[in-house]
Every structure is written in structure tokens, then in C-alpha cells.
């Protein structure tokens, strides 16, 4: 199928993009890599009347590395971050997770921020953003705001993004000393969306975070104390709490099993790679 007609604005700078989004209101949408949006246009699941291409705005194609956080602009492609020489050192969790995001042919166009905006419950990048406690920077014509990832994702493909607003960047906290990071996923085939994906962070004081994607309507995080005597019970409770559903790809029960087993394996890996 082919998309329904729309106007296309290729913005050269931020003010052009924000003006076009403001004018278009709820009928306008950003197009970044197009790797989720164009399939929806082709299937006519989405029928925006205006698309605003933001990928040619120079200030959005920056990866900005500060001592405590890495900020990734809305035009940065997934493959650009994958090839960033400091990735393994500064963002080990993303270094482990990015190869699981679709296929290289899609990562060459798809953006980091587009995946966050799309908010698929099985997507790896929103999961990493939630696990690390990152933030999303949003801008509309006269307002800029920063939202914690855990407040940004509101449900399946639903976020805190307002009409006329766009993501300008997302920020991931950088690697901290003596902290372990691990990512694991089960999918039908490599490159498919996750059935269950797990991200774990183990801190020097023994506390840990386990975040799980693919089960609830958004990625969810479990905070664990240094005392792990009741770990199996906590994982079991968490697995039930996510309210898994049966679907074409896996049963709810299989997903709960994965949360318990894959979750544990991911945590153990994070704990063992603290250096």
C-alpha cells in the first residue's frame, strides 16, 4: 500500500521545524528515520497531513559527551551511535543493546530519539533509557522542558509528547566506576522485536536495577537492595506484576518464565562485571 497524501516540510533549523509543528497541531508529525513511521504510512495506520523532516537540522546531529551524561540529538542515527568510538566505555549498556535493534539496514536510518518517541513496549532503546534513569528533552515553540524517562513513557506507543512538540535530544547517564551493566534478550529471530528484553545495572554498594521490556505496556524497572536473600521471590512477584498477556509470539506464562530466568541471568552478569 501507499501513504495517503501529506505536505512535507524539510526543516533547515529548529525554528522552521517548531513553526511547522505548531501550525500543523495534532495533524502534524515529525519524520526522523522513518523506520517506524513509513510502515505505518504505507499501511495507512497513520494519516498525518503534514510531515516535518528534522534530520537536516545541524544542531540535532550531535552526540554531546559530558562527564556524567551523554546527550544524543534527534537526528543521530542508531548506526552513528553504534560506531561512536567511546560507546563501549561511556555507555556500555547501549553498546550491548544496539545490535539487537532491528537490522543494520534499519539502524542506518532509524534514530535513537525516534525509537524513544515511538515508544514500542518491546523496543530496546526506551528500555535502556528507563534502566539508566535517563531524560528526554522536549521543545515546542515557546517552551523547552526535560522529562524523566520514567514519566515520559505512559503506555503502549503513548508518551508525554504534546501536540506541536518534538524531542530534541535524550540523555543517558554515563558509565560510573565499579558499576556493572548487562543486556540480554530473547526474540524469535535476531533483529526481531524482543519477546522479553532485560537490562541490569549493578552498583558498587550492592544495589541493582533490573528493567524489563516486551511484557508490560512500557518498560518497567525493579530496584533491588544489596541483600538478595529473597531475590527469587522478588523476581517472581515482579514477573506477575507486569501482567503479561498471550499473543502471537509467546504466552503470558512463557514471558513470566523469561522474566524470572533471563532477569536473573542478566542481573548475575551485571554483578559479575563490576570492575
Amino acid at each position: 500500500m501507499k501513504p495517503a497524501p501529506f505536505d512535507l516540510v524539510t526543516a533547515n533549523d529548529m525554528s522552521e521545524a517548531l513553526e511547522a509543528l505548531h501550525q500543523g497541531g495534532t495533524e502534524a508529525r515529525v519524520i526522523a528515520g522513518g523506520q517506524s513511521l513509513v510502515p505505518m504510512l504505507n499501511m495507512r495506520l497513520a494519516r498525518p497531513t503534514t510531515l516535518v523532516d528534522i534530520t537536516r537540522i545541524p544542531e540535532l546531529s550531535r552526540i554531546e559527551a559530558k562527564s556524567d551524561r551523554i546527550t544524543i540529538g534527534a537526528a543521530v542515527r542508531q548506526s552513528t551511535l553504534e560506531r561512536w568510538p567511546d560507546l563501549a566505555d561511556r555507555l556500555p549498556l547501549l553498546h550491548a543493546a544496539l545490535p539487537w535493534v532491528a537490522h543494520t539496514q534499519l539502524r542506518n536510518r532509524g534514530t535513537i530519539c525516534g525509537s524513544v518517541a515511538h515508544a514500542d513496549p518491546s523496543a530496546e532503546l526506551p528500555l535502556c533509557l528507563i534502566a539508566l534513569g535517563g531524560t528526554v528533552t522536549l521543545r515546542r515553540r515557546r517552551k523547552t522542558r526535560e522529562v524523566a524517562a520514567r514519566d515520559f513513557f505512559q503506555g503502549m506507543m503513548s508518551t508525554d509528547l504534546a501536540p506541536g512538540e518534538m524531542i530534541v535530544s535524550v540523555s543517558f547517564p554515563a558509565r560510573k566506576p565499579s558499576t556493572g551493566y548487562a543486556f540480554r534478550e530473547v526474540a524469535r529471530r535476531h533483529g526481531d522485536f524482543a519477546i522479553v528484553a532485560c537490562a541490569a545495572i549493578a552498583r558498587p554498594d550492592g544495589t541493582a536495577t533490573l528493567a524489563v521490556g516486551g511484557v508490560a505496556d512500557t518498560p518497567r524497572a525493579l530496584e533491588l537492595s544489596a541483600d538478595r536473600t529473597d531475590l527469587d521471590d522478588r523476581l517472581n512477584e515482579f514477573a506477575w506484576h507486569l501482567q503479561a498477556r498471550d499473543d502471537l509470539h509467546a504466552t503470558a506464562r512463557y514471558r513470566r518464565d523469561l522474566v524470572r530466568h533471563l532477569g536473573l541471568a542478566t542481573l548475575e552478569e551485571a554483578l559479575s562485571c563490576r570492575d
Partner: protein, 168 residues
């Protein structure tokens, strides 16, 4: 601010296999349709139109990408390379030659896309290991060959490109 209106066609300029082209298309025209219907470059195939099958894969500024997930207008100023930019039937590239020798195609529907992915892989990584080859191929569906001959052809082509014997 340049707004391309939905009911009109607008020019878009890019290079196709090194030659400058300019076509008029509406904002909603996909790159696949611009290539096939407007330019007549039908080597790029169209299967699913939602990014899954890989038949439409072309190179955009040297990197493989789905032409069915790009608006033709987004190709403005880009270097697009398609299977027509590889060898001709009397002078195949080592990769195409290896595909023929190893029976890596039957119906040929998937072949153009796979060639563009492997061609890009070998220009970035001439010594790509089998793992990297399989990883790159995971973005393509082939309903005929069972993939084994495609992997064999890719390994043979890699050896030939590196200057070694063609048989892996």
C-alpha cells in the same frame, strides 16, 4: 520555509549510480516507486513495503537502507546506488560472479537487495568474518535458497576481493 504541497509534484535531485538525476514526485512517493516508475530502474525489487523483507535494499551514501521506507524527497542530495550500479551481465563484479557460481539465487527476487547489503559490508570490512556476513544477511528474506549458498557465495567473494582463491 520549503513546504512541498501534497497535491503537486516537486523536483528531487540525487545521484543514481554516480549519474545526476532529477525527477518530479509528490511528497508521498516512496524512493522505490521513484526508482522503478519514474526513472525505470526496476532492478530494485519491492516485496513487503514495511521494511521486513529487504528486497528493496539500496545504498544511501554508501550504507544499505530500505528504499521502501524512504520518501523519494528525502533522497535530495544523496548518492543512491542500486544493483544497476554493480556489474553488467558481461562483466559481473566478483560478488555477482560468486552468486552465479554458488547458485546463490533461484528466482532472484531477493538478490538485488542482498547484493547491495554485501557490497556495502565488503567495502567497509573487506575481511568480514562469517558471523558478520550472517548478521548482515539477517536483514533479508529469501524464500528459495535456504541461505546456505548465499553464505557460501559471500565467503567466496570475500576471499576473491581479498585476493585469495575464490573457493572458501
Amino acid at each position: 520555509m520549503p513546504r512541498l504541497t501534497k497535491d503537486d509534484t516537486h523536483p528531487v535531485r540525487f545521484t543514481l549510480n554516480g549519474r545526476p538525476v532529477s525527477v518530479r514526485v509528490s511528497p508521498r512517493t516512496l524512493l522505490t516507486d521513484a526508482l522503478r516508475h519514474e526513472i525505470g530502474a526496476t532492478g530494485t525489487h519491492v516485496g513487503c513495503e514495511h521494511g521486513v523483507c529487504g528486497a528493496c535494499t539500496v545504498q544511501v551514501d554508501g550504507e544499505p537502507a530500505r528504499a521502501c521506507l524512504m520518501l523519494a524527497q528525502q533522497a535530495e542530495g544523496c548518492a543512491i546506488r542500486t544493483v544497476e550500479g554493480l556489474g553488467k551481465s558481461d562483466a559481473l563484479t566478483p560478488l555477482q560472479e560468486a552468486f552465479r557460481e554458488h547458485f546463490a539465487l533461484q528466482c532472484g527476487f531477493c538478490t538485488a537487495g542482498i547484493l547491495m547489503t554485501l557490497d556495502a559490508l565488503f567495502s567497509r570490512q573487506p575481511d568480514a568474518e562469517e558471523d558478520a556476513i550472517r548478521e548482515a544477511l539477517s536483514g533479508h528474506l529469501c524464500r528459495c535458497t535456504g541461505y546456505a549458498p548465499i553464505v557460501q557465495a559471500a565467503l567466496a567473494a570475500r576471499n576473491r576481493i581479498k585476493g585469495g582463491p575464490i573457493d572458501a
